[in-house]
């Protein structure tokens, strides 16, 4: 369809998920706006002009083959790397080049493909760690304002309990991170970022390496999270998963964003089809 073609061309000069304008009539004010991001390492161009937007309260899938630059793009968004050029805006404010701590504090949460579980701490401690702006994290307060700290801690533990229940990890609350299976660690990783209560959650291959029986569970949780109002952007390379669960899809290939739009449209985009000739099988 003509509309799909012009969507692909619109990549270069809008910082908007241009295609979304056509299809869901939203205000066009994305929560996260990536515009022309370029990142090279030595001679290697990892990201070569990525442009797309993530609408509030949407689930967006970022797909592409290995080496397409997806993780590097995540690293640029979360401050691990500063892009060579281009901008990244969260809620209108530029965040590219800021430190990971600063980006996280502004409301960007992120999980890693290989979970960085705190292995020497219990699941409960892992989760409680993630709470933001804890008064009790200041040594002075720990020493001299025990009541304030206990009150805050009680709140945090309540939220931890909620998440344990949501993710069905309650029976593992006192287990140490080192005792968890890979899939459980993925869930814990997700739980931590949820507890952090960010404006947008970036998930790096949330179901990779997860037991197939757990996969559906996880995806259901993501949808539920989204239903409750969270904006989610996740990297995935299983095209079926993305088509089934996402409102919006961004396709990357060789560091560029090829296409961006609702799943059905993107699926039929010529350039996407050409890039993935033969399609994917999981």
């Amino acid at each position: 369809m003509g509309a799909a073609d012009s969507d692909a061309d619109a990549d270069a000069d809008t910082d908007d998920a241009g295609s979304a304008n056509i299809d869901d009539g939203s205000a066009g004010d994305p929560l996260l706006a990536v515009d022309g991001v370029v990142k090279t390492f030595g001679g290697l161009v990892a990201v070569d002009g990525a442009t797309f937007g993530v609408e509030r309260e949407s689930i967006t899938g970022l797909i592409g083959p290995n080496g397409a630059g997806k993780s590097t793009l995540f690293d640029c968004i979360t401050g691990v790397h500063a892009p060579d050029s281009g901008t990244i805006r969260l809620d209108g404010a530029e965040i590219q080049g800021r430190s990971p701590t600063a980006v996280a504090r502004r409301g960007v949460g992120r999980t890693f493909q290989t979970p960085k579980t705190f292995r020497g701490m219990t699941v409960r401690q892992n989760l409680a760690f993630a709470a933001r702006d804890q008064v009790g994290e200041r040594a002075f307060n720990s020493m001299f304002r025990p009541n304030t700290v206990s009150a805050e801690e009680a709140d945090i533990q309540e939220r931890v309990d909620e998440i344990l229940e949501f993710l069905e990890l309650d029976h593992l609350a006192e287990e140490y991170g080192s005792a968890l299976s890979g899939g459980q660690r993925k869930l814990l990783e997700l739980g931590r970022v949820i507890l952090m209560d960010p404006d947008i959650i970036l998930l790096d291959e949330p179901i990779a390496g997860v037991n197939p029986s757990l996969t559906d569970d996880l995806l259901d949780r993501l949808e539920e999270l989204n239903d409750r109002g969270r904006t989610i952007l996740f990297i995935e390379h299983d095209i079926d998963v993305v088509m089934q669960h996402c409102d919006h899809v961004v396709v990357m290939h060789n560091g560029e964003t090829l296409a961006s739009g609702p799943p059905q449209i993107v699926q039929e985009d010529d350039r996407v089809v050409e890039a993935y000739l033969g399609g994917y099988d999981a």
Partner: protein, 350 residues
């Protein structure tokens, strides 16, 4: 009339030193056990505290032999004592801040080397800047508060109680802080700085805080030490001290304050008991019946007869302790195996 004789005197002395080492170990535990900072220069904070206490309370150089120091405050006891201890803790904290600013951002190896080397440089400064520290001759007129009034024996006992109370107070304070979210924050950063950053925490600032807290505790121990021995000399503050404290911490169990104290008492007990080896040997030799008096010399004769033999062997045992604990029981006596399992991974995360 002497109150403390023989064994009693020995035990009081042992317990006081053990209490001081307990403080040193609790301090190091904040750095390494909780935050995963491999601080190989710990003795520098101890020395900073001891020298600060000395400078604050030493009498004017004109009244002391072999005096080349020009900075002195001569604060009178007893009210000068808490000031001196506060100065000691402050000195430890400030030195930790300075060293920390250059090192905490660094990865494991760099931090170990930087702290090790900075402690070495600090030691060189202590030896060379005699205008401040009286050089290698040392500051030997540090007052022992209350000793004139109480008499030598009673003072030993009272000072021991003071040292133990101080240890208990610091222990309780550190326990409280580490059981609070701050402790959790330290541990998370120990486990994975990358994850901590992604969750909005600032590892550099937190590590610096941990470094300063540990430094203050260690400086405080230096102050207590200075007023106990009455003498602060650079030769007392060698790398051997740092690693004896490590032995205590590893043996007791990293990230366990109770373990730190237990480890300290154990290691000091071991060290003090080896002083009696020669005495014990002579006693055995004297009491053995005629026919077998040849056995002991035959067995132990070939060993070197130089005065550094036993002290060196003690340090060999310290080294062995490191190797054995790390390899076979990394959680030490009282540590948590689940916690220590992860201590082997790169603190900086992937």
């Amino acid at each position: 009339m002497a109150l403390l004789t023989g064994w009693a005197a020995f035990l009081v002395g042992f317990a006081t030193i053990a209490a001081i080492y307990g403080l040193l170990t609790v301090g190091l535990n904040v750095h390494y056990g909780y935050t995963g900072l491999l601080n190989f220069g710990h003795v520098a904070f101890f020395a900073a505290g001891a020298y600060a206490a000395a400078i604050v309370t030493m009498p004017p150089p004109s009244t002391v032999t072999n005096a080349s120091y020009v900075v002195w405050f001569n604060l009178p006891m007893p009210w000068g004592f808490p000031v001196s201890l506060a100065a000691a803790a402050l000195a430890g904290g400030v030195l930790a801040l300075l060293i920390g600013l250059t090192s905490v951002r660094l990865g494991t190896h760099y931090l170990a080397i930087a702290t090790f080397a900075l402690a070495g440089v600090f030691s060189d400064i202590l030896v060379n800047e005699a205008w401040l520290t009286n050089g290698s001759f040392g500051m030997n007129s540090v007052p022992k508060p209350g000793r004139a009034v109480l008499g030598a024996d009673v003072w030993q006992l009272v000072y021991l109680i003071f040292a133990l109370v101080s240890l208990a107070a610091v222990y309780l304070l550190v326990e409280r802080v580490m059981n609070a979210p701050f402790g959790r924050l330290l541990k998370g950063i120990r486990e994975s700085e990358a994850a901590a950053e992604m969750l909005g925490k600032n590892p550099t600032v937190v590590k610096l805080k941990s470094f300063v807290i540990g430094g203050m505790i260690t400086g405080f121990a230096g102050g207590i030490y200075a007023h106990y021995f009455g003498s602060v000399v650079t030769a007392q503050f060698l790398p051997g001290v740092t690693f004896t404290v490590y032995a205590a911490m590893l043996l007791g169990g990293a990230a366990s304050n109770t373990g730190a104290v237990v480890g300290a008492f154990t290691v000091v007990a071991f060290r003090e008991s080896t002083r009696f080896i020669t005495t014990a040997y002579n006693w055995f030799q004297a009491t053995l019946p005629e026919p077998v008096t040849g056995i002991l010399p035959a067995v132990f004769g070939p060993l070197p007869n130089n005065p550094s033999f036993i002290p060196s062997m003690r340090l060999v045992v310290v080294g062995l302790l490191f190797v054995l604990v790390i390899r076979y029981r990394p959680e030490g006596l009282l540590g948590n195996p689940s916690e220590v399992d992860a201590l082997g991974d790169e603190g900086g995360g992937d």
